[in-house]
């Protein structure tokens, strides 16, 4: 029961810091909304230039489709030759579409013009996606044209997108942001907690008390876990209500995954706190870890894209498994049968981190 005094004290210290309180509970709402709009791989209004040197109607019809597409913003058009490289260099366009009349062997004009798409490849992701959109527009025109003539392709794909039919990137990012939030709050709150006790010299008095080391450890971890869970619920509400991302799975499984994850991340944060000698040190350590966790988590790009030598870091990254599980539960509505391996891996990492952290904590308090 002595533990409850420690938990109460920790919570009072949080509540008494009004700025911190705001950052902890209003911050996540602001962060999710901003991240939800900013961290998006959707391509919209890509600036393009059209250089139409074809005298046929097809080039004009395809150009019209480009003009009407919300994916592109036509910034420059010319019916004469233009320095296409200069257009890209000056940044007036990210892509230049050039139409020329195509000729057959005998010099006769072909039904379709030649189309060349020049892309600014610096932003490789936008370039790849935009190139795909152009292909889609051209392919769509050809299919419509063939259909008008009563012909069609002998084989055509008809993709059906499950779980995220509108292919909104926020649906992919949103659940990940919830996992990320759980990490930020708990990491920063806990990694500074023991260091602060060291700095204000209250740790000695704490260690002189009859509290067992496990009680002190839990007294630091439990309030942070509680705050983290409250933040997670706030995050879920924003993601579901503000962004309209459907939650299809079980809240119970989500809670189980979050609790296992909290055991891992809080142990890691307490390890930082034990190893740091100043609050500043602990903050830098936490920030560095946070960036590493995020980059290796599959939050922005799939884990499969991470090169093999660095994959080990991703494999031992607890955030990677949490984000994977949250996406499974959130978007697919999957039960534990579909993500038990991820949960097991997360539990293994949590068990290792708890052991290392607790061992270091015990060693620290018996200096």
């Amino acid at each position: 029961m002595k533990l409850r005094y420690l938990v109460k004290k920790e919570l009072i210290e949080v509540v008494r810091q009004k700025e911190l309180l705001f950052l902890m509970f209003a911050g996540p709402v602001i962060q999710i909304i901003i991240l939800g709009y900013v961290v998006s791989s959707d391509i919209r209004r890509v600036p393009v230039a059209i250089v139409n040197l074809s005298r046929g109607q097809v080039a004009e019809r395809v150009s019209e489709r480009v003009r009407r597409s919300p994916l592109f913003a036509v910034r420059f058009e010319s019916r004469q030759g233009a320095d296409t490289l200069e257009l890209l260099k000056k940044g007036r366009a990210k892509a230049v579409i050039v139409f020329r009349d195509a000729r057959g062997h005998g010099g006769a004009a072909r039904a379709y013009p030649e189309v060349q798409v020049l892309m600014d490849g610096i932003d490789s992701n936008t370039a790849m996606v935009a190139a795909g959109y152009f292909n889609g527009i051209i392919k769509g025109y050809i299919l419509d044209d063939l259909a008008r003539r009563g012909r069609g392709l002998p084989l055509a794909d008809r993709p059906l997108f499950r779980f995220n039919p509108q292919l909104r990137s926020i649906n992919y990012m949103g659940p990940g942001i919830v996992g990320f939030l759980l990490t930020i709050i708990t990491m920063f709150l806990t990694s500074a907690s023991l260091v602060r006790e060291k700095e204000q010299q209250t740790l000695d008095t704490l260690l002189m008390s009859p509290l067992a080391s496990l009680e002190i450890y839990l007294g630091k971890a439990l309030p942070a876990a509680l705050v983290g869970l409250v933040d997670m619920v706030i995050g879920l509400l924003v993601v579901v209500l503000w962004f309209g991302i459907p939650f299809r799975g079980s809240l119970f499984y989500l809670l189980v995954a979050a609790l296992v994850y909290l055991a891992a991340i809080l142990s890691y944060a307490l390890l930082i706190s034990v190893l740091s000698t100043t609050t500043q040190q602990s903050m830098f350590f936490a920030w560095f870890s946070l960036m590493l966790f995020l980059l290796m988590s599959g939050f922005f790009t799939p884990v499969a894209n991470i090169p093999q030598p660095l994959r080990l870091l991703a494999d031992i990254n607890p955030l990677r498994y949490l984000i994977q599980i949250i996406r499974e539960i959130f978007l697919k509505g999957n039960g534990i049968a579909y993500f038990w391996k991820d949960l097991l891996a997360l539990a293994g990492i949590a068990a290792s981190l708890v052991s290392v952290s607790l061992l270091n904590f015990k060693r620290f308090i018996s200096r």
Binding site: K2, I12, E13, T202, T205, L207, M208, S209, P210, L211
Partner: protein, 246 residues
């Protein structure tokens, strides 16, 4: 000193931090019911010694026995006998005095009824409004009073006070020493570290430490007589000079 088991028995106590020796094999006893002043300049090794007695700092070599119990083998039992007030009073700055009392009393195992009684006792001594302010906003004298009160909550037999009067005004210091005397009359044993030499007059015995070594030990009057010095200040300077010549 009598043949009774010392409240604190320190033998050959040493603490090394890498190649630096903070405490260099010191030995002394504190008898039950005594007030012993632990005098020395900043960095002399007072806090390190006290922390080794409490078990907060690992001993490099030597032994500490508290009421006959080795503090390394019987640390949990030793801790129950000790009250410790560290430098800076070690209270939670964002908690009020009453919340600090409730917290420290609670983790010390006091029942809710005992906690309420303790808080009521404190309210008899200091105005309730001050006790409900964040402790960081109250005067140092009150913080010191609360820190001592908190230290005494588990009713320890032996009390270790590390620089308890630093940063407080002379009036608060006098009031504090008066409380210390009150504790002595209750049979408590006190080891009080300080760098305020004039506080030696309040002590039954003093230990002077310099550069991690004990350079003088005894009753203040006796030491003054032995060393033919007129004041503790002169005695202190003489002891340090002699130690430097050695």
């Amino acid at each position: 000193m009598t043949g009774a088991t010392p409240a604190i028995a320190v033998r050959g106590l040493r603490k090394d931090f890498g190649s630096f020796s903070a405490v260099r094999g010191i030995s002394f006893d504190v008898a039950p019911g005594e007030i012993v002043g632990f005098l020395g300049p900043n960095g002399a090794g007072k806090t390190t010694t006290i922390k080794m007695i409490t078990g907060l700092l690992r001993i490099t070599s030597g032994t500490v026995a508290v009421n006959g119990l080795d503090n390394r083998r019987e640390l949990p039992r030793v801790k129950r006998m000790l009250g410790y007030m560290s430098q800076k009073f070690s209270l939670y700055p964002l908690l009020s005095a009453l919340e600090n009392i409730e917290f420290f009393g609670g983790i010390s195992g006091l029942a809710p009824r005992e906690l309420r009684a303790a808080m009521a006792r404190m309210e008899q001594q200091v105005a309730g409004a001050i006790l409900r302010q964040k402790i960081q906003d109250v005067p140092p004298g009150i913080r010191q009073k609360v820190a001592l009160f908190v230290c005494l909550l588990p009713d320890p037999a032996i009390i270790l006070l590390d620089e308890p009067t630093s940063g407080v005004d002379p009036e608060a210091r006098r009031a504090f020493w008066s409380e210390i005397y009150g504790l002595k009359t209750q049979g408590k044993t006190l080891l009080v570290s300080t760098h305020n030499l004039d506080e030696a007059e309040y002590c039954d015995r003093i230990l002077i430490i310099h550069d991690g070594e004990l350079v003088a030990a005894g009753a203040p009057d006796e030491l003054l007589r032995q060393k033919r010095q007129a004041s503790i200040e002169a005695l202190f300077q003489d002891a340090i000079r002699e130690h430097g010549q050695d």
